[in-house]
Symmetry: C2
Subunit: 191 residues, 2 copies
Amino acid sequence: MRFLEERILKDGKVFPGNILKVDSFLNHQIDPAVIREIAEAFYQRFGQENVTKILTVEASGVAIAVMTAGRFGVPMVFAKKSQTKNLSPDVYSASVDSFTHGNTSQIRVSKSFLSPEDRVLIVDDFLALGNATRGLMQITEEAGATLVGIGIAIEKGFQGGGDEIRKKGIPLESLAVIDSMDDEGNIVFRS
Amino acid sequence: MRFLEERILKDGKVFPGNILKVDSFLNHQIDPAVIREIAEAFYQRFGQENVTKILTVEASGVAIAVMTAGRFGVPMVFAKKSQTKNLSPDVYSASVDSFTHGNTSQIRVSKSFLSPEDRVLIVDDFLALGNATRGLMQITEEAGATLVGIGIAIEKGFQGGGDEIRKKGIPLESLAVIDSMDDEGNIVFRS
């Protein structure tokens, strides 16, 4: 999707260690117009699939998920990363290694909010190794729900997580796929 | 605001320890139509105040903030939570005790995204003791930005945090203020 590639080239910053910072518009400061375009693109791709629920993981995924849910006219659910007093112990959970944070966390979704009747669209801002996405896939499967597809804003294609998921035959739509980037800030998108 | 009070009575659940669960529509599963109404109510209240930035804290605040930012046509920024005390010098930070999580965390906003020119509207899903809100107020002040007001979805009025902020003369709009609730699930709203 051209609009997102253009915005990445304009406002994204590359740091050593394959870190792409898009925190001026996507995951710290957030431009709601960009999120709305992302939601619209997901709707164009998956709008005919009778999606009943949008699923993501906190925190920056929440912005994309709520706008996407609004476009589809269905609820969204976000997996939580920590055990809190107001999360029931009755949860689906998965273990997720974080590339960005360098740690492992449990992500959890209350069993009340995913069921075998659900047709789930997973969305997130980033996909690199695909750990968070696989965690959400695992939770969807545990719930017995149908995974309709996956919508990602930015995929770091060179880290392989996206292609691994595609090999399983799961519809994965990434609006910008980065095939390479270097420390001079050059970014090459998959065409 | 009637719509939110009605939804709380319909779908909210009260648990011992003054816990109100609204996780079926506000902070785990999220109904985007409710969030859109909340954003609209904040716009009706603060739309004439030349707001330049919506500020919240991860994670459930993000949904309300991005919809509110879309309604105002301005960016939103969410403060990040981190357990580490090692703060880089390029962030504004505040220490926040969490009622829900039973711990203390640092919340941080990159200095790139708040400046003295900004007119800030703080939004969040909940206000109880007001710790998170005060942390966001502190960050706004550190940045030298102007605090235009605060928009909260649900205020637990009996915990006093909201009235303490109002006493300082800060415009605080809570769409539903709970004056009391008991373990039988009875909820009394402030009129």
